[in-house]
Amino acid sequence: MPVAASAIYFLNLRGDVLINRLYRDDVGGNMVDAFRIHIMQTKELGTCPVRQIGGCSFLYMRISNVYIVIVVSSNANVACAFKFVAEAVVLFKSYFGGAFDEDAIRNNFVLIYELLDEIMDFGYPQNLSPEILKLYITQEGVRSPFSSKHSDKPVPNATLQVTGAVGWRREGLLYKKNEVFLDIVESVNLLMSSKGSVLRCDVSGKILMKCFLSGMPDLKLGLNDKIGLEKESQLKSRPIKSGKTIELDDVTFHQCVNLTRFNSEKTVSFVPPDGEFELMKYRITEGVNLPFRVLPTIKELGRTRMEVNVKVKSVFGAKMFALGVVVKVPVPKQTAKTSFQVTSGRAKYNASIDCLVWKIKKFPGQTESTMSAEVELISTMVEKKSWTRPPIQMEFQVPMFTASGLRVRFLKVWEKSGYNTVEWVRYITKAGSYEIRC
């Protein structure tokens, strides 16, 4: 039976139950004690997110200072259960106005109960879309849209939207100014060996949209991806214009995107939900432009001294700049004293994470910057050999730059009333896990 959950528990870090919902009777009410005794209070915590105790499986996840635990007794669908929890958290966040933690839960018992009842019934997931649920699950919105007292107002057909075909959009929306915001957000993941060769490098990107459009608009998005361009030149029988084309390894879309049309015409067309949503996600492994090169040299001088030299080069356009650049260089635990010389930004030693942290607020393109540091270590009886160097990690954001080179070629909005729209497009590249071994 592909049931997603028999019960769901929310626990704080001490293991107290904040709130729970038993959907089915096949798990005992005391199973959460088992979880506490056998997982939370042992070293097992964090070794595996799926565990079996006494006939029940526990699937758990930590979100800020709350553990969300799903209990099932049958052979459940794990991926579905985890995705359900993740989506539920998104839903709660949108109701609580951003935060999801112990306090938010304690302040919203009633609301959470209501939501838990709506999003899952007898262990089967129902509807988790915040847009729809907000139509009828409201605490301060006082009366339900169907309430007889409001019969003078037209009753919006919410139940149809609860379950209907265009589940993600309400009818009859009206904006004075019709605007669309589109952000391409890319995270670059890099794993570089100590010898400077790229072991692994990929980009996972997403396109986020914010739509403030009246009526039921149809949108069409064109990118400079290879398949899309080839298809277009095929259709219009004209050669591909020069310029970079991007090969997307894999794409996934928001449910609003017409996938049949994507498969036949290779264009992304959709009726967007109102407000913010994630239109698509993609992954690219070929032809990634790394925004930064890092050249570390770390010398261990005897038992108690280390010399760290890190050179960072920005390799994106000279007119662009990166923000919030942070370079973390791990050092041994027994670090006693550090001294730094940097060409830009500021560096300091952070003992709680055993790292030299070098921060540069603004890093222009086509420049380089270096940090040299001397580290003194407390001499210990333990051989220093036992220190294995964790990789250097880097954080940054580069606006107006995409590591993949992906660009929006057009974004067309069509609505039957024919209004004008303003489209805004932004690009940003962030560091995903940007690791350089040293």
């Binding site: 006939g55 099932v72 991926a79 009633v110 605490q139 692994r200």
Partner: protein, 833 residues
């Protein structure tokens, strides 16, 4: 659209006193408000209700306010209603009498003009879960199923399932399944259709064993007509419903290849869905549909790779874990297809260890000629990883790759470099691996021995590693000048050596060394044998004695036994049978894949062994243990080490022989020693055994099932696992024999339960069981029914492929064991008849 409401409430955490005064206070205030129609009364009621709910949530019993809550529920305010439903739902079960109070207003609400209220009331009504209120459910449910609002229908459909779980007969008497079937095929609303499908699927699956009709109904769900109906509407369903529908489709048996391609074309775009669960469900459909078409199946793997790799990288690490487990399964099935994607399985520093572990296993599996160098280089990076368990895993991975025969030369060098890292755990793991490597590639002995010889035995503390080192010292004592002296040193510290495994190896190594370099080792061997004979551990004692007598008898015979010419081990046994792997594959996209075992092993109560029966928390630690025991039995097949004492303790004599084909080390000899020595302990058994053996030869035992013996067994015997374990340790084996099993018996033994139930009928009870076909292992016990409370303990290893059972009997009263054995044998011979 209203902005997200932020519910403000008083203090962040209500104090948690006994709550008595609060509850009576609340009751009073509710009573005052109950009849009030004053403006603002609803608002104050809301505040009070909220307080009640939060008390309820933090665990204060507010059921005392039940009647007041019900009185206040006569309101049109939907927020109040919802809170009231919640309250009622929470307490109705433990206070069925009070629940009766609510029926009235819930039924009234089921007829409200507002579909929202109708739906909520119906859901609450069905969720009361009080059996004696079932009669009140039927009429609201039937009108709910015909309601004009899809919201109410949606709730009513799942209400039917709830009713089924409370009272199946009421559900069938009202003919609800038929209405649902009708609704499923005609309703315009996708969620109603989806819910109908869930309910019907669950009901018919549960009923399938009970009636023919249910079985038929279950099959109609999988008929081409239904499947295509759902497929054509699939885009109307929300993501969660799609997951379940895809799950259903994966069970569909297509009529021909056109059918298969039609379905795949229809579903191809589902692989691009943003919800990973939908993608995985689609993958399952693709994999299962193409099972019979080898080449297409392979193309499907290629097609699935990209979406899977994307899924791994998106979402939280828990979600990645769920996906990676599935990817792991596919990689293990077809490592070749993934060999060029090895870089995706490189570990990130920040990956949690459960993810790293899976990635390491995949890297090991996909290593081939073209990528071994890169993979091994990467694995060597992890050996210095801060996370010690992962570092160990990666060293083992390097060793496994070496055993797969790719680029052994370079790998041996790497392994030897590990030894120079001078980290205790690295050295320990590497030693074990070097030993395994030498067993497979004796030609490398020269390089390895040179490095191993430099390791100070003081730096090696882990028993497994120490045993490996000692084995090498013994095996290659000729090439290691210091070997006798190192061994001598170790033997001097005999008493400090806690692990029997190490002491066993020490004995053997001393013997080997003595046979090669007698003058240098004589003294050490003498000391070892003396210490061994005096050892408290049975196996060590026995082995020392055996060696002593062998040497006394004839040194050349001893040499033949201890130091025979060895063949290199060509293949190390696989962990899981292919049957088990296929079963896991059948259960794709479920917990089975994550646990890496078929579902019957963790969902069936009986399969988890009798230890599991008690679900109390106190016993859970025990449960864990027995859980671990079952797989260990299978894994011992795979154990790369030589027969270790640990395994011998498990009495796995038959396993030993099978596990290391072509290797006739002294340990094999030693393991056959166990029955020998046990026979000497209980003389009477020997005769009976031989007579049975003759029976066997003549094929008589089958025909002449022994006469019903005079021995009577207590049918209600009880023994707790702890006592069983203790007794098993204390008692000697009185009978150990192999008996044949009838072909019918073999046929019935698909799961351990079948035999357990059969033996139980013969007053022989099972205390633990495990294993899969063809090997099952049972621990059974029985008690004499003459008030003497004397127990018989049995270990029974059944091999269905050879149709034999290896039986060991231990008894409190050894004199009766023969009679018991006859009884046992007659019981077993009737199995499956």
């Amino acid at each position: 659209m209203a902005p997200p409401p932020i519910v403000q409430q008083k203090s962040s955490s209500p104090s948690q006193p006994s709550g008595k005064s609060e509850v009576s206070d609340l009751k009073l205030q509710l009573r005052q408000l109950a009849g009030s129609r004053a403006p603002g009364a609803d608002d104050s009621k809301r505040d009070l209700f909220k307080r009640v709910i939060s008390y309820m949530t933090v665990g204060i019993d507010v059921s005392a306010a039940f009647s007041e809550m019900v009185m206040c529920s006569a309101t049109s305010d939907i927020v109040l209603k919802k809170m009231c439903y919640l309250y009622v739902g929470n307490y109705a079960r433990c206070h069925p009498d009070l629940a009766l109070l609510t029926i009235n207003f819930l039924q009234k609400d089921c007829r409200d003009v507002d579909p929202m209220i109708r739906g909520l009331a119906l859901r609450s009504l069905c969720s009361l879960r009080v059996p004696n209120l079932v009669e009140y459910l039927v009429s609201p449910l039937s009108s709910g199923l015909e309601d004009g609002s899809p919201y109410v229908r949606m709730v009513a459909v799942l209400g039917v399932l709830k009713l089924y779980h409370i009272s199946a007969t009421t559900c069938f008497d009202s003919d609800f399944p038929a209405s649902l079937k009708n609704l499923m095929l005609t309703d315009s609303d996708a969620q109603v259709v989806a819910n109908c499908l869930f309910v019907l699927q669950e009901i018919w699956n549960l009923e399938a064993n009970k009636s023919e009709e249910a079985n038929r109904e279950r099959e109609t769900l999988l008929s081409k007509q239904t499947i295509y109906y759902l497929l054509n509407r699939i885009k109307e369903f929300n993501e969660w419903a799609q997951c379940l529908i895809l799950e259903l489709i994966s069970k569909y048996i297509p009529s021909d290849s056109n059918d298969i391609f039609d379905i795949m074309n229809l579903l191809e775009d589902r692989l691009q869905h943003a919800n990973g669960a939908v993608v995985l469900a689609t993958i399952k459909v693709f994999l299962h549909l193409t099972m019979s078409m080898t080449d297409v199946h392979q193309q499907v793997y290629e097609r699935l790779k990209a979406p899977l790799l994307t899924l791994v990288g998106s979402g939280s690490s828990e979600q990645s874990y769920a996906v990676l487990s599935h990817l792991h399964l596919l990689v293990m099935r077809a490592p070749m297809l993934f060999s060029s994607d090895y870089k995706h399985f490189y570990c990130q520093f920040s990956d949690p260890s459960y993810i790293k572990k899976l990635k390491l296993e995949m890297l090991t599996a996909i290593a081939n000629e073209s990528n071994t160098y890169e993979i091994v280089t990467e694995l060597c990076e992890y050996a210095g990883n801060v996370d010690v368990p992962i570092a160990r895993e990666s060293i083992r991975a390097v060793g496994k790759i070496a055993l797969q025969q790719y680029d052994v030369n370079a790998i041996v060098d790497r392994l030897l470099q590990f030894l120079e890292m001078e980290k205790d755990y690295v050295t320990a793991e590497t030693l074990v691996l070097v030993k395994d490597l030498l067993r497979k590639y004796p030609q490398w002995s020269h390089d390895c021995i040179a490095v191993v010889g430099n390791i100070s035995s003081k730096n090696v503390q882990e028993p497994k590693a120490k045993a490996a080192l000692i084995w090498m010292l013994g095996e290659y004592s000729k090439d290691m000048p210091d070997a006798p002296y190192i061994l001598e040193n170790l033997i001097e510290n005999w008493d400090d050596e806690n692990a029997a495994e190490v002491r066993l190896h020490l004995l053997t190594a001393a013997m080997k060394c003595f046979l090669k370099r007698p003058p240098e080792t004589q003294k050490a061997l003498g000391a070892a044998l003396a210490a061994g004979v005096a050892d408290s551990h049975q196996d060590v004692h026995d082995r020392a004695l055996l060696y002593y007598r062998l040497l006394q008898y004839d040194v050349s015979v001893a040499e033949r036994v201890v130091n025979p010419p060895k063949q290199a081990v060509s293949v190390f046994a696989d962990l899981q049978s292919s049957e088990v792997k296929d079963r896991i594959f059948d259960e794709f996209n479920t917990l089975s894949v994550v646990y890496q075992k078929p579902s019957y092993m963790f969902t069936d109560k009986e399969h988890r062994g009798p230890f599991e029966f008690s679900e109390e928390i106190g016993n859970l630690s025990l449960d864990q243990e027995s859980m671990d025991n079952a797989p260990r039995f299978d894994e011992s097949d795979k154990d790369l080490l030589l027969g270790t004492s640990e395994r011998e303790e498990n009495g796995g004599t038959s396993i030993n022989g099978a596990a290391t084909p072509g290797y006739s080390a002294p340990h094999d000899y030693n393991s056959s020693l166990v029955p020998l020595s046990s026979q000497t302990q209980s003389e009477p058994a020997v005769t009976s055994q031989t007579s049975f053996a003759i029976d066997d030869l003549l094929g008589l035992s089958m025909l002449a099932a022994p006469e019903p013996p005079s021995l009577k067994l207590n049918s209600k015997a009880a023994l707790d696992p702890g006592t069983f374990q203790r007794k098993w340790g204390q008692l000697g084996v009185s009978i150990s024999q192999e008996i044949p099993i009838s072909p019918q018996g073999v046929g019935s033994l698909t799961t351990p339960q079948a035999l357990i139930r059969h033996m139980q009928a013969n007053s022989i009870h099972c205390i633990a069981s495990g294993g899969q076909s063809p090997n099952f292992k049972f621990f059974l016990f029985a008690q004499k029914d003459d008030g003497s409370a004397s127990f018989f303990l049995v270990e029974c290893i059944v091999n269905t492929s050879s149709a034999k059972a290896q039986v060991k009997v231990k008894a409190d009263d050894a004199s009766a064991s023969e009679a018991f054995f006859a009884l046992f044998q007659s019981a077993l011979s009737k199995f499956g008849m």
